[in-house]
């Protein structure tokens, strides 16, 4: 029942938004719907934290602790993003760059997008999960191109082509896993039909899957889903799409879509580890993880656009969680999951703040928005604290999760990986601090922004930062859930 409600909320919101013309209350209604996803997601966590799994739709939908955790992440980030919908759309309509029909389309697509992500994490069948993740690409294409500038169109074209190719490779990988499952113990035993792509049945027979086929399948899956995660080598869509999309959409894509794709990788990793041992997937994840960190570092050093800076920072963090998952111990997976939540919240806050800066300053060039702290203390303050949180400083939760991922990597003997990632993280830290300093500090000639920031903007974002700091200081409300969710993947 709970699962149906969670999936139904964004769909119902999409339906209403599609039927009535755009009004402010429609935007607030979607905020309420996404906030309710968060609340019901927490309820789902309470039910699944003792290692049970809830089933629905004849076992087609399944929620264990890991799914429930992802529902909470999706609920949190989509609530934050939806809270800025009214602001974004009103400003677009006021400037005359968007019509109310466009606004309705935007709201409908965002809610369908959220529903697809929820289906991806709640489906028991890895094939259905694939369909849902592919559907997120379709739902977000027009959202990326919503501003209809030449840059936005270029970004959405690249986005849909590259991600569709990636997801096609992931399907090929899924087909090969299915093939391996059909042939367990001879050509005519093993599960058939839908159950052969059911995650729990695959886990049960993972030790008997053919290793040759699984090697090929896992490589394709890492490459394919890795595309949607924004990992090298097929990452080039990410900075374009994230910088061109409207701020709330960037927040959703960067904050949670990337990690939903990573969730798919985690599910397959568990099966692959059963079939191949932990070493094979580990080495693949280390390659793509360190590769992404390298690319992110080199492009952050000279970055001149603050939205692209945030996008490359997402690549950095996806690289970090790939390395954490490569370590693969239950401490590592728990840290990866905490990182997914912390990064989701903080990156959403930062993209929304960046959207607000873009709105009032009219440019996304770092050098052209100096002295934000004195000119616009509220926006500048939120952006500054967000940056501090993103760079992994205490008391924010990213500090705890990064520390634990490094500890876990050292504990399983991947000290060299931990060392390289620490070096790269320090370089990123310095370069983003420099960019942040030139945006936030400095003398201002005018102070035109005092008190001009709307409360509908500040309250949700400050709340997000507070939550992130809260989980950095006290881990106990999350610890049992993280433990249970990690236990789903690491037996």
């Amino acid at each position: 029942m709970l699962i149906y409600v969670i999936l139904g909320l964004p769909l119902a919101a999409a339906l209403v938004a599609g039927l009535v013309p755009w009004r402010h209350w429609v935007g607030w209604m979607t905020t309420f719907a996404n906030g309710s996803v968060l609340v019901f997601g927490v309820a789902l966590c309470v039910k699944t934290v003792d290692h049970r799994a809830l089933l629905a739709l004849d076992g087609g939908l399944r929620a264990d602790a890991l799914s429930s955790f992802m529902v909470v992440v999706i609920g949190t980030v989509s609530f934050l993003a939806a809270s800025q919908t009214v602001r974004y759309l009103s400003s677009e309509i006021d400037r005359g760059s968007s019509s109310s029909r466009h606004a309705s389309l935007y709201v409908v697509l965002v809610q369908i997008f959220v529903a697809c992500m929820l289906l991806a994490v709640l489906s028991a069948n890895l094939g259905v999960m694939w369909v849902a993740i592919e559907a997120t690409t379709i739902a977000t294409t027009f959202l990326v191109g919503h501003r209809r500038t030449s840059g936005a169109l270029e970004a959405s074209w690249k986005y849909v082509i590259i991600c569709s190719v990636g997801i096609a490779l992931a399907l090929l990988g899924t087909v090969l896993v299915y093939f391996a499952a059909l042939h367990v113990g001879g050509p005519h035993s093993g599960p058939h039909g839908v159950s052969a792509l059911d995650w729990t049945s695959l886990m049960a027979i993972s030790h008997h899957l053919d290793t040759g086929i699984m090697r090929l399948a896992v490589a394709l899956l890492v490459l394919g889903y890795g595309t949607k995660v924004g990992l090298v080598p097929m990452h080039s869509w990410l900075p374009d799409a994230h910088s061109q999309a409207p701020a709330p959409v960037s927040a959703l894509m960067s904050g949670v879509l990337l990690t939903v794709a990573f969730y798919a990788l985690l599910r397959f990793k568990a099966i692959a580890d059963g079939a191949l041992g932990i070493g094979y997937t580990r080495s693949l994840l280390i390659v793509v993880g360190l590769g992404s960190l390298f690319v992110a570092t080199s492009l952050l050093l000279t970055q001149r656009d603050y939205k692209r800076m945030l996008a490359y920072s997402s690549m950095e963090h996806m690289g970090l969680i790939a390395l954490g998952a490569a370590a693969g111990s239950s401490l590592a997976i728990a840290a990866v999951l905490l990182h997914i939540l912390g990064h989701g919240i903080v990156k959403a806050v930062l993209f929304l703040a960046a959207g607000e800066i873009y709105l009032v300053e009219g440019t996304s060039t770092i050098d052209q928005v100096p002295a934000l702290l004195s000119r616009r203390p509220m926006i500048g303050g939120i952006f500054g604290f967000g940056l501090v949180a993103l760079l992994g400083l205490p008391p924010f939760s990213l500090f705890v999760s990064e520390l634990n991922m490094i500890r876990a990597e050292v504990a399983v003997g991947l000290t060299w990986v931990a060392a390289i990632s620490l070096v790269l993280m320090s370089i990123i830290f310095v370069s983003m601090m420099m960019h942040g300093r030139s945006m936030l500090l400095g003398d201002s000639t005018s102070s035109d922004g005092f008190g001009a920031t709307a409360r509908t903007f500040t309250v949700p974002l400050v709340l997000g930062l507070v939550v992130s700091a809260f989980f950095g200081i006290v881990a106990w409300p999350l610890a049992p859930l993280l433990h249970a969710a990690a236990h789903v993947i690491v037996r």
Binding site: G127, V128, F142, L153, K158, F179, V194, P239
Partner: protein, 219 residues
Amino acid sequence: MSGSSYTQLLDLAAGLVLVCAILTLWRSDLRAITSILSIQGVALGVVAGVLAIHIHDGALAITAVIVFVVKGSVIPILIRQVVRRDPGSREVSPLINVPASLAGAVVLVAIAFLASGKITALFPNPASRLAPIGIATVLVGFLVLVTRRKTVSQIVGLLLIDNGVALVAFLLTTGVPLVVELGASLDVLLVVVVLRVLATVMRTHFGAFDLDQMQELRD
């Protein structure tokens, strides 16, 4: 259906899928390319149909009909409408010329057969024996995608990759479960619809153009 005619028909249809993929590299007339794509979709439907009859699988028969309709006619028609708005549209200057890309395709086919030999050797039967053809189609699709510069050509490249994956799925596993197949077909159809809209908007925005001209976003 007797054993040998089953094998022959399967060989023929699967081979046709790959031949169509290579033909898209050879022709530069975009209208001809959409026709080739339609033939490929029909061939893919025949593969699924032949397998369905051979193993008496109702769900696979439904899949065959869906593939036949969606990939054999609906998607090619959708793409043809984009082409028609731009008459005389040709893929004039691909990044690699036609003879070179045909040679490249031959190399890719060889790679596909070498790389997937292991899979076919593991469970040899008339269908899985043909799986390298699907892999080869995927690789040729990649070649089209990275060397062609018209929006329509890129959509075609994407569909070649997709058809190749579908062919592998039919040959190795007699198709993924019906619910997944339905979802996947719907997704492909929607991707084409989305790309069609995007191509139209980009035409009105940029005029007649090559994708090379989109160079605003870079670091």
